[in-house]
Amino acid sequence: MMKVKLDDKLLLKVEKPAKYTGNEWNMVRKDPEKVEVRFAFAFPDDYEIGMSHLGMKILYHIMNRREDTYCERVFAPWVDMESLMRERGIPLYTLETYTPLYEFDIVGFTLQYEMSYTNVLNMLDLGGIPVLAKERNEGHPFVCAGGPCAVNPEPMADFIDFFVIGEGEEVINEIIDTYREWKSSGSGREEFLERIAGIEGVYVPSLYDVVYNDDGTVKQVTPKSGNAPDVIRKRIIRDLDSVDFPDDVIVPYIGTVHDRIMLELFRGCIRGCRFCQAGFIYRPVRERSPERLEELAKNSVKKTGYDEISLVSLSTSDYSALPEFCDNLLRFTEKEHVSLSLPSLRVDNFSLGLMERASKVRKSGLTFAPEAGTQRLRDVINKGVTDEDLKASVQLAVAGGWDSVKLYFMLGLPTETMEDVEGIADLGISIIESCRGLSGVQEGKGIHITLSTSCFVPKPFTPFQWEPMDSIEALTEKQHHLKDIIRKRTRRIKYQYHDPRVSHMEAVLARGDRRLGKVIHTAWKLGAKFDGWDEHFSFERWQKAFEENGLDSAFYANRRRDFSEVLPWDHIDVGINRKFLMEECKKAHEGDLTRNCASGCSNCGAAVFKAGICVRKR
């Protein structure tokens, strides 16, 4: 067994060397010689980002509960560390035992955002594993990937031996069991892939043929082997209380993005905002019981020593037992000098009182996400919020002592006109006006508002999966127009916006097909990595990669797709009917709203899982 050796000459030359040395509190220690399966959980971004990811903590905990398995962690080394490692021929290693990646049985990546794809290639390469799946043979690890982006696995199909679609807590055990059986059977690499292709939720791309039409759209995707299903259905955990949730998470030494205890209240979201992929792919809504959460909170504080707990979900206010649960939790946290943070809360009297009580931090910024500037467009996206709701919320917050507010919007939503864009400025200004004279606002001063716009990216498994994305030029024009009118009308509003070229690439990768593998490979060879970081992203590099492979990025990003077109991800089933998504798309164009899951079922299809809100009595 090889172990990577590091010394001061290397580590004292890089920023934050503690990212590369492991040994954190609660890190799992096992003797690698005494386990059957060695699994490297890989997060394709910096340690500070990766260590904030709840999914990794969950699967690390689940796998390490098995005596026969040792799950270790690996992150993308920052560029300073990477260049020293390459210079000295040091392979990418895990933090637990400093073992090079190529020595593992399975290397599993989580795909949280499209712009991390090139880091997957870079980590494989640095870890001594052939980047292309077809170039791996006996003795190489199996490379798998999961996470939200895996719902359209096609762009990464050339690099990944198998994908895991959906939630991993149960299926990971089935995969490891199958791996052990296969290992003791002594058969070849293909045989393992054949075997796991039969596990629900597992997708082995090499077992499928993709045929294209002359116009470049997909004609059909067909399995080549008897064990590979026509359609791969995602896995879910039907009862969250039935699976393990870690209360002994690793406590990093250096500050990470989310450096606190994360309590997951529920999965899924009742809302059905039409742009939101998470709102569809995690259905149905399933809650963890308040009793279980309280127990987890108490044990977590004891075992980690963290002084902050954050409630995690897509929409905290929608947790059905929120008031009683928070009351009980606060009684505990106040006694233990622990603060409670409550993201994704709708602002009302209840939540403001809660925030007041929960954290003793200075009242600085409060954030809202109206997403669109006019009521018309908010109806298009099924965001059930009105101008009046927003004004009332902000007034409440201001009266409660908050003096700066940040509002999030998207530019380029389907059907958007310049009137909708201007509506963003109008909304900001009308909020400032409505707060004038409120107690809590100083005479002549007023509140500060930040308007932030991202670029709308159509995602698979949403009603907008057929929609064209705005061109880079159109988005830039909208940004400049909005900037101009805000500057002309007020100085109280700060405006922030994103680089539309990054969003364009995100759109391409999100709805891409298998041919994009070549583009990703070329871009990586040209030096692409950390594409999610502005200082490392190069649009020119990606353009070059498209040119070299004779493909057009606009084909993927900016084209309206017909309802009859076979989409590259049609053989993946997240439980949402294609017909439901089509109806939702049509309703969007009509500006018709769809009720949320708590007020009534709209037959999206998720009831097929017989879980959570789909079977709960309302």
Partner: protein, 232 residues
């Protein structure tokens, strides 16, 4: 039993890449895990009442770090040492603790420190040769080097901050034993000292590791172990 303690701890190779703030966070969390009744400050953002003697730079190991801590109830020094050692990560260890009765915080009393700086030379030197170089270095009344401060780089004469220097030979490498001024006022960083030796003597010192082996308080013109002045 005491409501306040002064304790000494070490950190070894395993934790030496941590910055000072990371060490503070590490202790805060380890203390929380002990369940001991640590006192908290009042106000918006309650913090544990713990004060560290002197920040420790990235890359250094130490066998003599000090901190003062307060409790809401009585805690025996032995209980504190054993409980905290159970919750400290590999690489940090509490060595001992004494009741703290005095009012001066550890941060304000630290005045000097001892370092063991292990280094190599491209060409080996005999003991007397190297002794000669070091005493020549110390014979300068003015050893001015550029020191980085918050407001930029400025010249500082570090000679008055050096109390003693000696070199031992250990196999293929050398150990510089340095006794220098330390603390919130006139702190001489060991890496700056090495840089000064390199510049003034031309000796191509290649640092391998730096270890802090002692820290002292100054009391009535005498160097005192911080534990000895826990009642002041």
């Amino acid at each position: 039993m005491a409501r306040a303690l002064r304790f000494r701890f070490s950190r070894n190779e395993k934790l030496k890449y941590l910055a000072h703030l990371d060490m503070l966070r590490l202790f805060e969390r380890a203390l929380k895990r002990t369940g001991l009744p640590v006192s908290y400050t009042q106000g918006f953002n309650p913090r544990q009442k713990i004060v560290f003697g002197l920040p420790i730079a990235v890359g250094l190991t130490s066998s003599a770090e000090y901190a003062d801590i307060e409790f809401d109830g009585d805690v025996a020094p032995e209980t504190f040492v054993s409980k905290l050692n159970e919750t400290l990560p590999d690489g940090a260890e509490v060595l001992d603790a004494v009741p703290l009765c005095g009012k001066s915080s550890i941060m304000s009393i630290i005045a000097s420190a001892k370092y063991e700086i292990r280094f190599t030379l491209p060409k080996p030197l005999e003991q007397d040769e190297i002794d000669g170089i070091i005493s020549g270095f110390l014979n300068n009344n003015d050893i001015t080097v550029m020191k980085k401060t918050k407001s930029g780089t400025k010249p500082v004469n570090i000679r008055p901050l050096i109390y003693s220097l000696s070199v031992g030979i250990d196999g293929g490498s050398y150990i510089l034993y340095a006794f220098v001024s330390a603390g919130s006022e006139n702190n001489l960083r060991p890496d700056l000292l090495v840089e000064a030796i390199r510049q003034k003597t031309g000796l191509p010192v290649e640092t391998e590791s730096i270890h802090r082996s002692a820290m002292y308080a100054s009391a009535f013109n005498e160097w005192k172990d911080p534990f000895e002045v826990a009642d002041d």
